[in-house]
Amino acid sequence: MDRALIPAGLKRCSLPVFGLWMLLLFGVIGWGVFAGAVVLLKAMNVTGLNDYFGFGAYITVDLAIIALGAGAFFSGFLYYGLSRFFPSLKELGKIINLAVVVGFVCYTGALAILVLEIGQPLRAWFGYWHANVHSMLTEVIFCISCYAIVLIVEYVPVVLENRKLCEVKPIKVFGRSLHDVMAIFALTGTFLSFFHQGSLGGIAGVLFGRPYAYRAGLFIWPWTFFLFILSAIASGPAFTALICGVLEKVSGKKLVDRSVYDLIGKIEGVLLSVYIVLKIADTAYWGLVQSPGLGLKMGDFYWGPYGIWLLIAEIGVCGVLPAMILLWPAGRKSNFLLFGAFFLDIAGVSLNRFVMSIPAFAAPVMPFDKWQVYIPTVYETAPTLAMLAYCALIISLSYRYLPLFPREKELNRA
């Protein structure tokens, strides 16, 4: 029934099967939209947040999804910016459309959740009008808005590649023209997103009243500014590759050459190694020098559910281990190890965002204060799950109706 919309020469599952999948996703999205509407109407008292946990599930998921969406800007930077000097990076062209779609859904999804996160959503525009140039959040507001616009501009030519739309000549010409100037947008996005990822790291790092989160740094930027950028580019392309792997599994088709995964594995291995070495150095300085200077020891930052396991899981299991696998040529050759390492890499960066949003503020600072535990309610989990369902929805629609993978036809000819 929708065959005319499917790219020529490509096979997709039947419309009823796809319809059922859409129905499931719309169900989750509907549930999340309902929960979000309750938050907006009844106020944030329906969430698990309180005056000790100003940040919770919304912020954690936003930070994580934006870091993972970094595949878009970083792959774009490598492909459009550096491949002229390093021709082997041209391989990324085979996955760049998917990276753009992933970046688009991650950023637009995060923006939707941000509306729920603030107590006065109708005043969200005050961030532009009454901007405090000293606030890291101001930098976030400006960068996320600008980059979301850039991602929309980057996504439009991908949409215009649709078979039916291409039949309309002006649309085809417009789409191709956009393709021609895409390098400019990709590099603009890179610039914006570097700052954006950094300012997200700066949000926690500048809090000099919160020794768990606070980091010294370079000029006005705390070390977390740089660590967030590095961790985002060390995990974003891995996330794109993992989604591509899942699409291949679900569709039963080869979508990109194996060499693309190998290249991403190699790039992520190097970046993750650099990140994890710097993260260990940062943790050592924070725990052994900075905190004792403020009268605290590392043990003061870990308690109950927010125990030392977080540090071991983040740096050891989800940091050092995947970095070693990705640097090891035999590790990259095995699909199990390669995709396992991608998964651990993504889990580690998500865990880092969790640690910097929740345990960092659960730890008491005043000696006579107490630890508290944050438990999100369904009004926080439902919208975040809906956001993930929205991501799956757009990726599914894009895969079905757009020629995302230039090599798909050739790779599945047999």
């Binding site: 106020a43 944030m44 008292n45 947040l49 309180n50 005056d51 000790y52 100003g54 940040f55 996160e117 603030i118 107590g119 006065q120 005043r123 969200a124 005050f126 961030g127 009008w129 009454h130 901007a131 405090n132 000293h134 606030s135 890291m136 959040l137 101001t138 976030v140 507001i141 949000i203 500048v206 809090l207 000099f208 009243g209 919160r210 020794p211 004792p292 200077g293 403020l294 009268g295 605290l296 020891k297 003061d300 503020f361 600072v365 005043m366 000696p367 006579f368 204060d369 508290q372």
Partner: protein, 251 residues
């Protein structure tokens, strides 16, 4: 708006609380609630969500009977005087909370607050509260609210203002009387209400003020001094175990 450096006029309002005099009666807290139109709910048992500008912490020495000792620590906003900005003011993305460099008071602009709660996580003293619900008062309390203080809508952050409206009132009076408004002094509702006279408020830069004199007492201390937040609320206690609880120390 707070600028990169202090204007440092001749006024820096601050508070000194003598913990050896404090009985933990809560009069300061109640006076603050009434003075500043702080809303409350029928069930206030969840202290992580109730709005209290002047919270009272119970301190103890960790000993067991008969060595057990306790004290109470009233905690208003510290109106931090850290260089450039207080921990909360420089993180606010919309300049809804700023420090008035003419007197050091950290104020709130409620109609501008977007409720991001970044200031809440920035404050190590937990001096800020979010309005989780619409503010409501039982009949007939709503008609008895102070006209001097604006009520806050749900979804915004609020905190102790050192009864800023009282400062505005004395400054207006000074202006009308033809005297220097910058020399006008006042006191806060909590200091007024304390039956033990444990709370003293005044200009910390005025050597004649009692607050300035007490802040230099050998037993005076600030909370979390190592963080360099430079709180303008001082505490006094002759007990070592209380003073030790003022800051973290690696054993």
């Amino acid at each position: 708006m707070s600028e990169g450096r202090h204007a440092q006029g001749g006024v820096r309002f601050g508070m000194v609380i003598d913990l050896d005099k404090c009985t933990g009666c809560g009069a300061c807290s109640v006076a603050c609630q009434a003075e500043n139109n702080i809303s409350f709910r029928p069930d206030e048992s969840n202290k992580l969500r109730s709005i209290t500008w002047m919270s009272i912490f119970e301190l103890n020495n960790g000993g067991h009977y008969p060595d057990y000792k306790y004290a109470f620590l009233p905690r208003p906003c510290m109106h931090c005087d850290s260089p450039g900005h207080a921990p909360c003011t420089f993180v606010c993305p919309v300049n809804a909370t700023t420090r008035d460099e003419n007197n050091g008071i950290v104020t709130m602009v409620y109609p501008r607050c977007i409720g991001c709660r970044y200031c809440i996580v920035a404050c190590p003293y937990h001096a800020r509260s979010f309005n989780w619900w619409d503010p409501k008062w039982p009949e007939p309390m709503e008609s008895m609210l102070s006209p001097e203080v604006s009520t806050r809508m749900r979804g915004v952050v609020e905190k102790c203002t050192f009864c800023h409206h009282r400062l505005l009132a004395v400054r207006s009076k000074a202006y009308k009387d033809g005297t220097d408004p910058d020399k006008a002094t006042y006191t806060t509702a909590c200091a007024d209400a304390c039956p033990a006279k444990a709370i003293v408020f005044g200009n910390l830069l005025d050597p004649q003020s009692e607050a300035a004199r007490l802040s230099k007492d050998p037993n005076a201390f600030q909370i979390l001094k190592k963080l360099n937040t430079k709180p303008k609320v001082y505490y006094i206690s002759a007990h070592d175990w209380i003073r030790k609880l003022s800051d973290n120390a690696v054993a």
